[in-house]
Homo-oligomer: 271 residues x 2
């Protein structure tokens, strides 16, 4: 059966990332549709808001079907203008701000978006965490491993770098990562630089077939990417982690979001 | 006045990242509160759900105030159990799934979270974009600049790296970045490697005082970080970009989210 097409419009006076994340999660629950996204971020004056209203109505006419609008608009006047559109609304502020006002006994202050520019200490700690993750990617530097929140270990291409970067950008955690390489397996010991930081170590592993596919994209027909070598490295890494008492996750069918949140739970990290 | 404390609990059968992002955005609208976050992700069986219910009720007793629960729970049975808690609920699925079912004329399929593991092509393109951003960070490689969606230019520490990484991780865009250094200003020319890719170039600039603070954290009391040198580099970079017809953003009071979304708008990039 051909999927039914629907246009979904993300409208916000900020970046629209929150509305898009939620909209994506909600629409993923419905099968048999092809959702075409359109984005109207930074609608922070009446001209932009009225332009957006016209565009939504135009789309509605052209497609003969009202679009779905997912909205985070903190300004109530602009919100009211947008609601004149011929659309189906998922309005996050409308749905939750009024009940929250009642629960908190406080009026909301209508600040646009979050304050996450350079002036915000939270923002600076996030950038610092990202710089840390980059400096400590793939064992590049170990000058400051003791300030790491977590040190991920695993064979090359097991998912350490994306997970470290996500932990830093999303949760402001200082995540280093350190590769386990064939020399480590032959020596039969954890890299000596990691020895002082055992409590911070967490392993990542991956199905050898999957590793073979990923490494083949990078260096086809090499020893590095051969299925045989991938099997050897994964088995040796898991043996080492088991012996050293390092817990690990299998990244084969986990997203970096899932890995990141599970790691924080395991390590009792708060962000 | 002392801020009023409230506990906010993020509950999900997935990572809880969507609920946390939305909750953060909503609560940022209320001043005079100190919100203490607690997280219960991956509530995907009845035992975990009942444990969570008990914990919420316990907290409610201890604090003498019902917690605020922000929830994305796709399983309706588990959702019903959790709703027995003595809490104030912001229930994203409850609020929007039923109206969406009616609008789409389709029942929702109750899939937990998004499918964004390795099997998903969207996920792989995201990891590929991140690898691209890392390989092309700070001009490290220019073997494949022609496949870039965007090439950010600017002086050292103007925000190129975090923006590139965010564009790749959040939007699967291939973002390279290339530093403008004093040698470029003396020569008076764009780096020759960038010349073939003018249409992909976008500049980042920053207030010299802010740049001075950021660089001083890295290399205090150096020529590199001196206010005088920061003023010189920023002015020279802006002169060069103006002459070459490269548009730019000032990153001084913009978050990487805002920068990323504005860049996509400017460059008509879709993700």
């Amino acid at each position: 059966m051909k999927p039914q097409k629907r246009t979904i419009i993300y409208v916000s006076d900020g970046t629209g990332i929150t509305s898009e994340t939620l909209g994506h999660g909600l629409l993923a629950q419905f099968e048999g549709f092809e959702f075409k996204p359109l984005r109207f971020p930074f609608l922070d004056n009446e001209d932009k808001v009225r332009d957006c209203l016209d565009r939504i109505n135009e789309l509605s006419r052209i497609e003969g079907m009202r679009p779905i609008v997912v909205m985070t608009q903190t300004n109530q006047d602009y919100s009211a203008i947008l609601h004149q559109a011929n659309a189906f609304f998922i309005d996050l502020f409308d749905a939750f701000i009024a009940p929250l006002e009642q629960e908190l006994g406080s009026r909301y202050t209508r600040t646009v978006g979050l304050s996450h520019g350079h002036a915000n200490p939270e923002y600076n700690s996030r950038i610092a965490a990202m710089n840390f993750a980059l400096a400590h990617d793939d064992g590049v530097s170990d000058t400051d491993l003791k300030s790491a929140d977590v040190i991920l270990v695993g064979v090359s291409r097991s998912g350490k770098t994306p997970t470290s970067l996500y932990l830093s950008l999303q949760f402001s955690l200082k995540a280093a990562n350190y590769p386990l390489i064939p020399e480590d397996f032959e020596r039969g010991d954890l890299p000596s630089r990691l020895q002082p930081f055992r409590t911070k170590l967490y392993g990542l592993t991956i199905a050898p077939e999957q590793l073979h596919r990923i490494r083949s994209d990078r260096r086809p027909n090499s020893k590095y990417s051969s299925l045989e070598n991938c099997r050897y490295e994964v088995a040796a890494a898991e043996r080492m982690m088991r012996r050293e008492g390092i817990k690990w996750f299998d990244t084969t069918s986990r997203s970096i979001e899932e890995l990141s949140v599970q790691l924080m739970q395991e390590l009792n990290l708060e962000h």
